[in-house]
Symmetry: C2
């Protein structure tokens, strides 16, 4: 592709020596910009007449919003932290259009952080929930009797505490704070990456406490699917570390119980919502573990693949990349598995150019990863960029996650702008939308479309991104066919609605 | 280049289906990373034995500094605003090495903002300087009698005010504030781009007031050359809007007087410092003007070219790109001139992807610009990126300027990282070092080398950047030869010093 571009440019530009007429110049200029327009994600999409008129509606609103920000960068532009403008997104017409758009699949989501703090709070109204408030920390545990787990203060029934309080609203607000990184406090927005990850890990621990109880986990998961479904998502690939679940009497389930619950709840959800396609599972383990733990985790993945082949997608390593071990440390375990287990590695979720974290990108590619989670640092690696393009490895980009977890503040500096412009295989996802109070996908789509992509990027790009989410999924060929059939049906309804009701 | 890379990757990667031995894997991996290392700026440089041992010294310190930041991102990393760590740079060994390194040329500098606030303050001790303090503003004027220019308050002799004050230190500190954007006040660091540019324009006005007086302008320019020379810069290409200068009695000089002063002062400076090569001039005009003003400015450029052919380099447009007119508006005037006047256009100094500012990059290329000032947005334009590479148009990258003028906060997100990795024709410069209290080049080099480039980037990259500064200058062939001769002599001394005195 690049060679062709370079040749074209040399031919058309270097040959020019005399002054052009303004007419020739404008033609040449339009040609050059048009050529770039064709290279970008969605550049090959042809729109129908209906889609073109829907696109006109969409682009009228988009241009309005971009122009307002351009003229008044002081107000609502995308250069600030997501938390500072999150509540203003509701005001955007483009957002409301995107909210209605069928989005296909969410391919990069961690299962325990899918659900909003509001819905998590509702789950704390379940019976038998004990709480341990200590310092800045909240531990939770469901139990028939006072939990035996250590607590610096005292385990107390949450229902009792809630009944005793005079102000339930602020009591609940306080609990909700433990379920989200969201804060309107300026000072919470500018800590360094390690500090943010510490806060993030704390939120994860409290939520995992809440949902380690089997019956609540089932409710949690059904609710999470509902939030995704309501955001027009038809299919999800979950990353899950397969936690041990327990019953009220303290009985512990074994590791393979969790996947069975995913399977059972998703099946029930599908029965209740026939246009939902389902879920698949990417088994994960923390990258801080040693190689023997990794081997065991791959073994469990194999067992799940055998027991639930339709639901199994692959394997991944999680946790802050900078502080964890690089992929290359696990090479012996990973290379043994690469022929029967598909990899979906996180890679290059870092700003440290030339560090071992950064080089995970090379290992993800060499180990045959089907997609790469984030790939944030890939823009600094011309050879790896070319390899990802040539091998058609999709990049799972999670913009809001990268902002909240301190990789970038002004999203216009996010490499997604270049990935979209270069026509890289991109899918948009949300990583942990519950942890930052984002929509399952709509906020990420909105910010990417209005804040990051070219002002000229239009419905063609959105459509390609939606198509990519199925194209690069772990669905098999016939599943993809079914998914596309449903998707295009929904897409047509969306276009109909947009071109008729939004004028 | 890309085609070759893609082919290589496909051959070496896609052919692999079985598990590799760890030995083969590591070889393959090293090969892939080494290949990228070869692509980057400096990848073709071969170091001598002496240079290799100097490189070992340099890299030992660089690795130390990067590793410390990686482990403690809370302290001194490059993710914060330049002003917050500017005073810590002194503590860095790498900085002190870079400070001693001969840097060749500074190719992107605006003449009135070359000098530090400290030296500007010293110039306010000259006789006959009147000041008008009004609100947040400071106007200055040299005059035999009270200036006739309007003043909301009152014109007063600065020497009188200074004599009357009880605390000269804070009096002078207050004056210095009008000469710089530098501030340690957190709230000054996070305003939007238009606000920062307003403050910037105000600083420019006060400084221009001070140096519009002919004798002070001469001192100013000599002092500026000295600061650059002391930072190991041997040659400068100045951008100047050719202000009208005046004498104490109010006599105004004509537009061509300013270039004659540049010529005369530079000649004197060269006599005093024989290893200094000289300066060339890029005539500029503000992009807010209309096309007739542009035509006139080009006419003046032609006259200067005729009168001082050795000193004349070319023509450019300046001012905040987002708010000014796009290049395409001036197409008729520019295309007429492009055969006898070289262009050095600012282009793509913006975060607004797909805006008219952003498209200036296309016009700069189509109009045959010899270099591009900033090119910040180029990373979002694959075709233009390929064109710039193919036509070998140098990018004048000014990192600190981009931070201070609000394009990016964490410099690791600056596109320079990619430009260096892609082996683009890059030169480093400082835009307006006086306005932000930066070294003429050392701070920009230091931040680029330690904060932006790969951890593995070494002396080869620095050497290439220094070579580029002469290679992409407006010097003619024989001037370049002379410059390289002097440069390599200085370079050898630097290497000798580094490999013997810094161990
Ligand atoms: Zn993730
Ligand atoms: Zn400039």
């Amino acid at each position: 592709m690049y060679a062709a571009v370079v040749k074209y440019i040399i031919l058309t530009l270097c040959a020019q020596t005399n002054a052009w007429s303004i007419h020739d110049y404008n033609a040449e200029r339009a040609n050059l910009l048009e050529q770039e327009f064709g290279l970008q994600v969605g550049g090959n999409i042809k729109l129908s007449d209906k889609e073109n008129s829907a696109n006109n509606v969409l682009m009228r609103y988009k241009r309005q919003e971009v122009d307002e920000s351009f003229q008044n960068p002081k107000y609502f532009n995308f250069s600030r932290h997501y938390f500072t403008y999150k509540n203003d997104i509701e005001k955007s017409k483009v957002y409301h259009i995107i909210r209605k758009m069928p989005k296909g699949a969410a391919l990069h989501v961690h299962s325990s952080l899918m659900l909003s703090a509001e819905r998590l709070l509702a789950l704390t109204y379940e019976d038998h929930l004990y709480a341990c408030f200590a310092d800045d920390d909240l531990k939770l545990h469901f139990s028939a009797n006072v939990p035996q787990r250590p607590c610096h203060t005292k385990w107390q029934l949450l229902s009792v505490l809630r009944n005793e309080t005079e102000d339930i609203v602020s009591f609940d607000e306080n609990i909700k704070k433990h379920f989200t990184l969201y804060s309107q406090n300026e000072k919470d927005l500018k800590f360094d990456i390690n500090y943010v990850w510490e806060r993030f890990n704390k939120v994860c621990r409290t939520i995992k406490d809440l949902i380690a109880y089997r019956p609540v986990r089932e409710k949690f998961f059904y609710e999470a699917l509902k939030e995704f479904y309501n955001d027009k998502i038809m299919y999800i690939e979950l990353r899950s570390g397969l936690p041990i679940l327990y019953e009220l009497d303290g009985t512990l389930h074994d590791l393979t119980h969790m996947p069975r619950i995913y399977h059972r709840v998703a099946k029930r959800f599908k029965e209740d919502h026939p246009d939902f396609i389902g879920i698949k599972l990417i088994v994960t383990i923390h990258r801080a573990k040693d190689i023997n733990k990794i081997r065991k985790s791959i073994e469990i993945a194999r067992r799940i693949k055998e027991e639930l082949p339709d639901m199994f997608a692959g394997f991944d390593l999680v946790g802050q990349e900078d502080l964890g071990k690089p992929l290359v440390d696990f090479y012996p375990a990973l290379t043994e598995a690469k022929d029967d287990i598909n990899f979906y590695f996180h890679g290059g979720e870092t700003n440290w150019f030339g560090s071992s974290t950064d080089e995970n990108l090379a290992d993800a590619i060499l180990l045959g990863s089907k997609r790469i989670g984030h790939g944030y640092a890939l823009i600094k690696h011309p050879s790896l960029l070319a390899a990802v393009k040539a091998k058609d490895i999709a990049l799972e980009v999670n913009v809001i996650s990268n902002v909240v977890l301190s990789l970038v503040s002004d999203v216009r500096n996010h490499p997604l702008a270049s990935y979209l412009a270069f026509g890289m295989p991109v899918v948009l996802s949300s990583d942990d939308p519950g942890a930052w109070g984002a929509d399952p996908l709509s906020h990420d789509f909105y910010i990417s479309f209005v804040g990051i992509a070219s002002k000229r990027a239009n419905l063609r790009m959105l459509k390609q991104l939606v198509i990519n989410s199925i194209k690069y999924s772990a669905l098999n060929a016939s599943e993809k066919l079914e998914a596309f059939k449903k998707l295009f049906k929904e897409w047509d309804d969306f276009i109909e609605d947009l071109s008729t009701n939004f004028r």
